[in-house]
Each structure stands twice: as C-alpha cells, then as structure tokens.
C-alpha cells in the first residue's frame, strides 16, 4: 500500500511541477511575441523566428498540460446526469469510463510515440559544425528541429495516463470503502 501511495504522490507532484514549468513557458511565449511585435512595427526589422518560436512554445504548453488539467479535473464534462450523483456513484461511473479513457490515452501514447520516433530518426537532418545530424526540421527559414516538440506528445499522453491511474486508485478506494482517500 505504501508503494501505491508513494506512486500517487509522485504523479500528483510531477504534474504540478510540470504546471509550474509551463508558467515559465507562458511568460516566455508572451515575451517572444512582444519582442517580435516591437521589432516588426517599431524598428521595422521582423525576426524570422518570433512567430514560430511562440507557436511551438504554446504547442508544448497545451500537450504537456494534459495531465496537469486532469489533476485539477479541469477537462470539461457534460454535467447532465453525472454531477447530481453522490460521490460514490460518480466514482463507479468513473470506473466504467476509465476503460474508454485508457483506450484513448494508450492509443494516443503509442501512435504519437511512433510519430515522434519517425521524426527523430528522419534522414533529412541539418548540418551542425559540418556533421550531418538526423531529425526532422521545420521547413521555415529558421528551420528549428521538430522532434523535441513531437516528443512532448507521447510525454503528455503518458502524464495523462499516470494521472488517470491515480484517479482510478482513488475511485477504487472510494467504491470499496465508501471513504475518500486523503
């Protein structure tokens, strides 16, 4: 039991920590777009990376936060039948819907891992210091590497799966004992 508790704590803490990191990413993205706007409209010297960097930062931000949002139960539900049930009934409903939930997240994890891996190992890489480096790059002028962004997709799916497992354990405990796990 102790190991399970440690696992649950670890997952919760990790997702909260990711949230804290993403606070930094948000501010960074805001700074980048500000810099770009100032350079473009005040100095007339737009960068070739501002917009893309901001977009990619936000891309990381959305997918990485999947588990964080699930920790806070922020993923929006339809509260027609669900919300008016007792806590225990809701836990039972959650146990039932955990089947499609894990189906979705596991398939997402598997497919996006493949998606990332084919990008990581792509031949058409760039030259860094005269050495050919594999990995997919964006087709823009700036041409940043795409695979770190794509890596965030299986990572986000994994964090969602782990957070889902924590909720599953809480639900099982509630259904079995009628008490909430503190």
């Amino acid at each position: 039991m102790k190991a399970l508790r440690t696992f649950m704590m670890a997952v919760d803490k990790t997702n909260i920590f990711i949230g804290k990191l993403m606070v930094g990413v948000t501010l960074l993205a805001v700074l980048v777009i500000t810099f770009e706007v100032v350079m473009r409209y005040i100095f007339g010297a737009p960068t070739n990376w501002g917009h893309e960097l901001m977009t990619l930062l936000f891309a990381i931000f959305y997918v990485a936060a999947g588990g964080y949002a699930h920790y806070y139960r922020a993923h929006v539900r339809v509260d027609v039948f669900y919300a008016t049930r007792s806590e225990r009934t809701r836990a039972i409903l959650d146990l039932i819907t955990s089947v499609p939930f894990f189906l979705f997240t596991l398939v997402l994890f598997y497919t996006s891992w493949e998606f990332y891996w084919s990008s990581q190992t792509m031949e058409a890489g760039a030259e860094v210091l005269g050495i050919q480096v594999p990995g997919e790059r964006s087709f823009t002028d700036w041409g940043p590497a795409y695979y770190p962004i794509k890596f965030m997709m299986p990572f986000g799916a994994l964090m969602l799966i782990l957070q889902g497992l924590v909720w599953l354990m809480r639900d099982i405990h509630l259904v079995a004992t009628g008490r909430k796990l503190s």
Binding site: G19, M22, V23, T26, L27, A29, V30, I33, T34, E36, V37, R40, Y41, H51, M54, T55, L56, F58, A59, F61, Y62, V63, A65, G66, Y68, A69, Y72, A74, H75, V76, R77, V78, D79, V80, F81, Y82, A83, R90, L93, D94, I96, T97, P100, F101, L103, F104, T105, V107, L108, T111, S112, E114, F115, Y116, I149, K150, M153
Partner: protein, 438 residues
C-alpha cells in the same frame, strides 16, 4: 457499414460516454479512434498524431492562451472592479441602476477580454452582494450578471470567434467586425429590459439614494484611471481591423499591455502573474484537448462521407433555406444545453459550413449568428458555464434555482437578439462591409 448506421452508432456512443461523465475531449476522441480502427483498419489510427500536431502548432490558435492570459491579468489587477465602480457612480442613480451598471461594466470589459470567466466571477463578488444589499430583485440581480458577463465571449476580442474562424477557414478580422454590433444590441436589450421592469415597479431595483452619490468632479476623476485601458482596447482591436496586425500579434500586445497597465498602477504582484499563468494553463489545456478529441471524431466522420450525408439530409430535403437555417439554430440551442462551446464548434462547423455556402448565405454572417446563438449555451441549464461561475462565488442565500430563474428572462432576450440578427442581417454585416469591403 452504411453512413446512416455510422452516424447513429457514433453519435449514440458519444452521447452515452458524455452522460456517464467522461470529459468531452476523451469521449469524442475514443469514439473517433474506435470507429477509425473498425472501419478503416487499425493502421489508419496513426493519422491521429498528425492531426493533433496540426492543431497544436496552429499559429492562429496561439491567440487563445494570449487572450485568456490577458483576461486573467486584468482580473487580478482589479481593472474590472474599477470599471464597475466608475459606471456604478455614473448610472447608479437610475432606477435599476446597479443592474444596469453591471451590464455596462461587463460590456466594457468584453471589449478587453475574450472569455467569460473573469467578468462573471468579479461581478459576482462585487456587484451581486451590492444589489442584494440594496434589496434588488434576486432574478434581475443574478440575470444581469449572467447575461452581461457572457458578452465577453461575443464582443471582440473573442476566443470563440478565433476557434470558429480557424475551423471554418474564414477571416477572424471580419468575424470580429461582425460581432461588434450584435454584442452591443444584446447589451442594449438587457439594459432596456432592466430599466423597463424597474420603472414599472421600482421596488425591484431602487436607485442609489441621493446622499450616496458622488459629486460630478469626483465622478469625472474616476474616469482617468481607465484611459490606459481604453488605449489597450484600441491597440488590440484597432490593429486587427486596420489590418496592421494578425489577431495573434494583437493578442500578444494585449497580454503585455495588460501587464504593463496593472504593473504601473502597482496592483500586480509576482504571485498574481503566476496565478494568472496557472489559470491560463488550465483553461487553454481544456480548450485545446477538447479540440483534439472532437477533431479526431469529426475528421473521421467527414472522411467516411458524414458531411455529404448531412448536407444531403438538409439540402436534399427540399426545405426552404430559411427553414434549414432555423433547424440548425435549434440544433445549436439544444446542444448548447449539454456540451460546451468548443465541442459544438468543432462538431458542427465542419458539417454546417459547407451547407451555408451551398444555400448562398454569407459565411461571416452565419459565423456571428453562430456566436450569438452560443451566447445562450452559457445560460442554458443543466450545462452553462455562466451558471457555474456565478454559483461558485454567489452568497449562500442565492440558490442554484435562483440563478436558473434569473437566467430565464435574459435567455429570452438573447433569443430575441438572435431573431433580430436573422431578420436584419445588416446588424451583423454593416461593420465588416464598412471596414473590409468599402
């Protein structure tokens, strides 16, 4: 499987999962994946990450977290409260004045924020207790805040119209221009209704007593702190309409501008910024994951011929095009009671958009009509964001039923607004024509 069977089983199983309480993102996503695997084979599922990657790296969608961030900062910085205080002093002397002031303050805020949460929560905390203290009618009090706060997502900058424009491939600048007058029309309807009720029966909303009103000079002084906010509105909306900046850039300017204004007035602490970021993260992750899931669902459905099927069903029925338009509006009102706006846009726009063009309606007009219609979705129980937000902050003596009843009259007004925009398309189209086609 025939398209009829696919339609019924897909929508049926999605509805079942939604009812059981699985979040919209995962319900749509699972059903979309399972059907893709069943009908096109397991290998076909590998298209899913490509679609998600397309959405998450979409440049236009980056405006969503930026606008949400801007609203969170303005909320933390107390700007909403300041605007309310100013309008309250100017118009509180009217019958029903506090409720009118609430709607006006919400309308002004709506021109700065693109979501509903910030105004709804702030007004629920300051204006609602004020109205109850002055013995305002409970339903007028709750209804004015519910309906007023909802304007945030209609009056530009609006996050809803960004998602709509992205899905429908129509110009966000034009949609913003189109949503302007309908937003003010709705605000006008709310104020007219409040005043009408309170002039007939002043007990429902007594004016502020004379001795509590501030002298003119003090009231004029209240306007000064709001000048920077006015400049911010111009920077955000003006640059989009003059075609200077893309919506995402304008959103970035708005986010930084909001930080500078609140920071300069000494109202923004580091803790406030972090909290604003965290709220932005939760809301944006929710919106984007719902988009991911719904996209998996609808992209598959259209690929197997669902779009053509729905078009055939509606256009091929031989019904008058206005009847078809009404059917769509009723579908939206119905869905709005159960599903959140992101899901509705993702599921309905890819199906309705082509039909609207086929019937010869103006796509910009329909887009704004869509947004006006979805105003109701925030107020229709059982699932209405505005209802949840207000219930979350309302004093204990206000029950959920009070909030639902308060929403009822204003829902009626929103419906009147929708009908007016349908009968007189100029309400929507005059501004875009002036700005873009003149």
């Amino acid at each position: 499987m025939s398209i009829e069977t696919i339609t019924i089983t897909m929508f049926g199983s999605m509805m079942l999962l939604l009812m059981l309480g699985l979040p919209v993102a995962f319900s749509c996503g699972t059903v979309g994946m399972v059907f893709t695997a069943l009908i096109q084979g397991p290998m076909a599922v590998s298209i899913v990450p490509t679609r998600i990657f397309g959405l998450m790296t979409n440049y236009l969608l980056a405006a969503i977290p930026l606008f949400i961030f801007m609203a969170c900062i303005l909320e933390r910085g107390g700007l909403i409260a300041e605007i309310y205080e100013m309008v309250y002093q100017w118009f509180g002397g009217l019958k029903g004045g506090v409720a009118t002031a609430s709607v006006m303050a919400c309308t002004m805020m709506a021109a700065m924020v693109g979501v509903i949460g910030a105004s709804e929560v702030t007004m629920g905390v300051i204006a609602l207790p004020e109205m109850l203290k002055r013995r305002y009618d409970k339903f007028i009090s709750t209804g004015s805040i519910l309906a007023g706060g909802t304007l945030g997502i209609l009056i530009p900058p609006s996050v809803m119209l960004i998602v709509y424009g992205m899905v429908d491939n129509s110009s966000i600048g034009q949609l913003y221009a189109g949503a302007f007058l309908p937003g003010f029309l709705l605000a006008g309807l709310y104020i007219a209704y409040i005043s009408f009720r309170c002039y007939l029966n002043p007990i429902m909303g007594p004016p502020i007593p004379k001795e509590e009103r501030l002298p003119l000079i003090t009231r004029i002084k209240l306007l000064f702190p709001l000048i920077p906010a006015g400049i911010l509105v111009f920077l955000v909306l003006g640059t989009i309409w003059l075609g200077i900046a893309a919506p995402t850039e304008a959103a970035g300017v708005g986010a930084v501008g909001a930080m500078i204004i609140t920071f300069a007035q000494g109202k923004l602490k580091w803790k406030g910024i972090v909290e604003a970021c965290e709220n932005t993260l939760k809301s944006s992750a929710m919106v984007l994951w719902t988009m991911f899931g719904a996209n998996i669902f609808v992209a598959f459905y259209i690929m197997v011929g669902g779009g053509a099927f729905v078009t055939q069903l509606l256009v091929g029925s031989g019904l008058d095009r206005w009847v078809i338009l009404w059917i769509m509006q009723l579908i939206l009102i119905f869905l709005g009671a159960f599903i959140d706006w992101v899901g509705i846009i993702m599921l309905c726009v890819p199906l309705f958009g082509p039909i609207i063009r086929k019937l010869g309606f103006d796509p910009i007009w329909f887009g704004v009509l869509f947004a006006v219609n979805l105003q109701m979705s925030f107020l229709t129980p059982p699932f209405g964001y505005a209802l949840f937000y207000l219930k979350g902050v309302a004093p204990k003596e206000i029950s959920t039923t009070d909030i639902w009843k308060g929403a009822a009259a204003f829902l009626g007004l929103q419906f009147v607004g929708l009908v007016l925009c349908m009968i007189f398309p100029e309400i929507i189209l005059v501004v875009p024509r002036l700005l873009f086609r003149g």
